[in-house]
């Protein structure tokens, strides 16, 4: 099939970007979205043009590197699917597809469709861990964890840090990302000693990084390829309030 693409091109952080139109012929329905871009890039390279820069790595939906906003939706139209797992059989001959990078103040564009998500690393560095220096651990069975707690922790630990939640949010908020880590660690007995500092510091860092506030539109949870529930934000708020009231 033939597709018309409108793709964001931007030479670098300090440059202005623009939408550029491309046409791709011979798209196979079995191709993944990124393979379709590979085909376009091969053609651009041979034509002496600058190929389109986009982030990708594992191409199996787990590393969280791919980050395209397709027709206004982070990771495209298919639910619970990262860009790399989206296949062209969902499109029809002659479709026009708009491809943009994540749009958020806290994620500046590095080039074309590539953005800088290091603010996420900063949030984790400020408290998204359990301090357990190597060698200090007791036996793994020393502390049983209720299955419900373990499951809640796992559900939230599934976050791949792709940033789709921020890109989907009309406020550019990172609440779902931060919530996923706080809920994961605070649900476990091992996470209790640092429970309060964790949430306070992570929220501080999140705010400092320039993410917007949360208006609970739920767009983040809809866009999340790993199904992190919106309720995690409520839990984050509870943890934050409790910690705030106790820190005085």
């Amino acid at each position: 099939m033939r597709l018309n693409l409108r793709i964001w091109r931007q030479a670098g952080i300090a440059h202005k970007g623009e939408m550029v139109e491309y046409r791709v012929d011979d798209v196979s329905p079995d191709m993944s979205f990124l393979e379709m871009l590979d085909v376009l890039n091969e053609r651009l390279t041979l034509a002496g043009e600058d190929p389109i820069a986009f982030d990708h790595d594992c191409r199996e939906g787990i590393c969280g590197m791919c980050s395209l906003t397709i027709d206004g939706e982070p990771h495209g139209p298919q639910r619970s699917t990262t860009t790399c797992q989206l296949h062209m059989r969902h499109y029809r001959d002659g479709d026009t597809i708009t491809v943009e990078p994540w749009r958020a103040k806290a994620f500046p564009v590095v080039k074309d469709l590539v953005v800088d998500r290091s603010a996420f690393d900063d949030i984790i560095a400020s408290g998204g861990y359990i301090s357990a220096p190597t060698g200090s651990a007791p036996d793994a069975h020393a502390t049983p964890v209720a299955k419900a707690d373990a499951d809640a922790a796992f559900e939230n630990a599934a976050c791949i840090g792709c940033g789709a939640c921020v890109a989907a949010c009309p406020n550019g908020s990172a609440m779902l990302f931060t919530a996923a880590k706080v809920v994961h660690l605070n649900a476990l007995p091992q996470g209790q000693p640092e429970r309060r500092d964790r949430v306070l510091n992570m929220v501080d860092t999140m705010d400092d990084a320039g993410f917007g506030g949360c208006t609970l539109t739920g767009e983040c949870a809809t866009a999340c390829p790993k199904g992190i529930p919106l309720e995690s934000i409520s839990t984050l708020n509870r943890e934050y309030l409790k910690a705030s009231l106790k820190r005085a």
Partner: protein, 646 residues
């Protein structure tokens, strides 16, 4: 030195650090005998760690905790994205929580045997000992392993093991373990002990006075060439499966860091040992950019078959039972569909070679769940494999509840890597290699759920204990960019980039990589032969020559340039590919992941030759011809036997 056509035979190599005595005491003896670094001096010592996967991430975090100044590098935008994240199955540990007869010795025994007697006993025993501590460590970090209703950890039996020793976190064990290491790493970044360089790719090793002292890296965003110095360099840059172009590795996985070190004198051991995984989603067309693995657990309930007649193009549902060949059940009645990975893979290749393969290009076999659905009910099958079926449908557009899955083998893991001693130090002083990047623990074949174990064992527990023995002699002389060796290293990097950009030919990097992959898969894949390997070496040389004449790399070196990144990696893959073929050619036996057509039993099984090949093949970079150094393997505790799965 003897010239043997494709390579030169050099002096044997010996592991100087390997302790002797009873095997169960060797690791504690080595730890006692290794020199310690005064805690106050650790701040003055710096270590570069390249790669942030399970091995690199855990090593950087632990070294940071110990007080060393760590400089960590990864090519991804965040250390959390390293490809360890994609491991699905689980992690082995000899905890014996099930009371089912497991022990450190049994895990040791299984791993040596699984590696087809091509691994060092001392290393493997240490791995089995440390496995127990890994689980403790990860649980303390908050890794959400699967648990039972009583709140204790759940385990399962994996990859044909007869004990239940595999800990898991649904199908995302690698992700959860990596995030644990990543969080520990970020904690140390915040503490100021680790300096993180993301989107940086190591392009050269700096060796001064025979010691590894630093690296030359490229800032992938600005294109700036960047030097970093340290008292020791740790490579944790993963495996080289992407030499096949199509593999289950991430697109960015590459051999450059280890290959550059190899060119600077580090020995490359057993490059021909590659593991091929039998249950991957087959190639759908020429556009294919990578292959997706599906958990091996599918073979517990799925039945593998192909049509009996070659060229049968009927839909699977139209082929009557009598005209189906359940070939694994037929050939291996005892193990059936659960034969080890290499056997299942080769059997699939054989039936496809006979023209009985299914799907596009005839490269696939059916994995059929209709019997399981009849027997257990659809709900039970969904509960067990629902997420895998969903993934399959997302990629292929076919519903596996209605039509059988199609699967085909794909390259998954590389057991070979840089040669290291018991301390995980290469033959270059100060250069340590950990995780999949080294060759040390899996021999010729890796058991399921052992990769995660080895990566974390090396990073959390082994390297931090052994590196001190080397660093105790430091800190070493301060280096600057003006040092002649540094200048040389920087120039070699900039020259190479300029050369790649200057070709300005008419073929893309990917077209070369794809072609190289075809050659490797055809002649150095599941089955290798003397004739095929010799042919491959010729083809690789021609293609490499053409690459440097016709490749087109757009843009400049002073910008974010993904084509340039790939071009450099592919250039190194060419050189590695040739060495892999030479290694495969010289090893005329079949063992583990290396199957030589000439060395099989009458009924087509792999035949090892312990008389001639019970050694590690450690290759020295020799310019024209590689130089082979052999390290003899001795088996005191597990006596070599031939595998049989009939």
């Amino acid at each position: 030195m003897t010239d043997i056509g494709e390579y030169v035979l050099g002096e044997p190599v010996v592991d100087q650090k390997a302790p002797d005595g009873p095997i169960a005491e060797r690791w504690s003896r080595r730890r006692f005998e290794a020199k310690l670094v005064n805690p106050a001096n650790k701040r003055k010592l710096s270590v570069i760690v390249v790669g942030t996967g399970l091995a690199g991430g855990s090593a950087a975090a632990t070294l940071g905790e110990l007080g060393y100044r760590v400089k960590s590098f990864c090519y991804q935008d965040s250390p959390r994205r390293a490809h360890s994240i994609a491991a699905q199955g689980g992690i082995n540990a000899a905890k014996n929580y099930r009371n089912d007869g497991d022990s450190v010795h049994r895990l040791f025994y299984d791993t040596v045997k699984g590696g087809d007697f091509r691994a060092r006993e001392s290393n493997v025993h240490r791995l089995a000992e440390v496995s127990v501590e890994i689980i403790d460590q990860c649980v303390a970090q908050g890794v959400p392993f699967a648990r039972e209703y009583g709140g204790l950890l759940d385990t399962r039996s994996f990859g044909g093991a007869q004990v239940s020793r595999t800990f898991y976190a649904r199908g995302q064990t690698g992700q959860q373990l990596l995030l644990g290491a990543y969080q520990a790493l970020e904690r140390q970044i915040a503490a100021g002990t680790i300096e993180m360089h993301d989107r940086h790719e190591m392009l050269e090793l700096i060796v001064v006075d025979g010691r590894a002292r630093g690296i030359v890296a490229r800032d992938l965003v600005s294109g700036e060439i960047f030097t970093e110095y340290a008292d020791a360099v740790v490579l944790a840059s993963g495996g080289y499966g992407n030499v096949f172009f199509l593999s289950t590795n991430a697109k960015g996985c590459n051999v450059t860091a280890t290959w550059r070190a190899h060119r600077k004198g580090a020995l490359f051991a057993n490059p021909c040992y590659t593991q091929i995984h039998p249950t991957c989603i087959p190639v759908s067309g020429d556009h294919q950019s990578k292959l997706t693995l599906m958990s091996e657990s599918l073979r517990n309930d799925g039945r593998v078959w192909v049509p009996k007649e070659a060229g049968d193009s009927r839909a699977p549902g139209d082929i009557p039972e009598a005209e189906r060949d359940y070939y694994l059940e037929r050939i291996y009645p005892a193990f059936g569909n659960l034969v080890p990975r290499d056997i299942a893979s080769r059997a699939a290749k054989n039936v496809c070679d006979e023209g009985r393969g299914v799907g596009p290009g005839g490269l696939g076999v059916y994995l059929d769940f209709s019997d399981a659905i009849d027997r257990l009910g659809r709900a039970a099958v969904e509960a067990k494999y629902g997420n895998l079926f969903e993934m399959y449908e997302r990629i292929t557009g076919e519903n596996p509840y209605e039509t059988p899955m199609r699967i085909y083998p794909a390259v998954h893991y590389t057991m070979g890597g840089l040669w290291v001693d018991y301390d995980l130090q290469s033959n270059l002083p100060g250069l340590f290699v950990i995780g999949e990047a080294n060759f040390s623990d899996h021999g010729a074949n890796r058991l399921g759920a052992s990769a995660l174990m080895q990566g974390l064992a090396d990073g959390y527990f082994v390297l931090p204990n052994t590196i001190g023995d080397y660093l105790a002699a430091g800190p070493f002389e301060t280096l600057t960019d003006a040092h002649p060796e540094v200048r040389k290293a920087r120039e070699s990097v900039t020259d190479r980039i300029e050369r790649l950009l200057a070709v300005n030919g008419d073929r893309t990097v990917d077209s070369f990589h794809r072609e190289l992959g075809h050659i490797m898969w055809e002649y150095c894949g599941m089955e290798r032969s003397d004739e095929g390997l010799r042919k491959a070496i010729g083809l690789i040389r021609d293609l490499r020559e053409e690459f440097w004449r016709r490749v087109k790399v757009p843009g400049t070196g002073a910008q974010f340039n993904q084509s340039l990144e790939r071009a450099g990696r592919v250039a190194d893959f060419f050189e590695l590919a040739e060495l892999m073929c030479v290694d495969a050619l010289h090893r005329t036996e079949s063992c583990g992941g290396h199957f030589r057509a000439e060395s099989q039993t009458d009924d087509g099984e792999a035949k090892r030759d312990d008389e001639a090949f019970s050694y590690v093949a450690a290759w020295e970079y020799g310019g024209e011809l590689p130089v082979l150094h052999r390290e003899e393997l001795n088996f005191e505790y597990v006596k070599p036997t031939q595998r049989s799965y009939k």
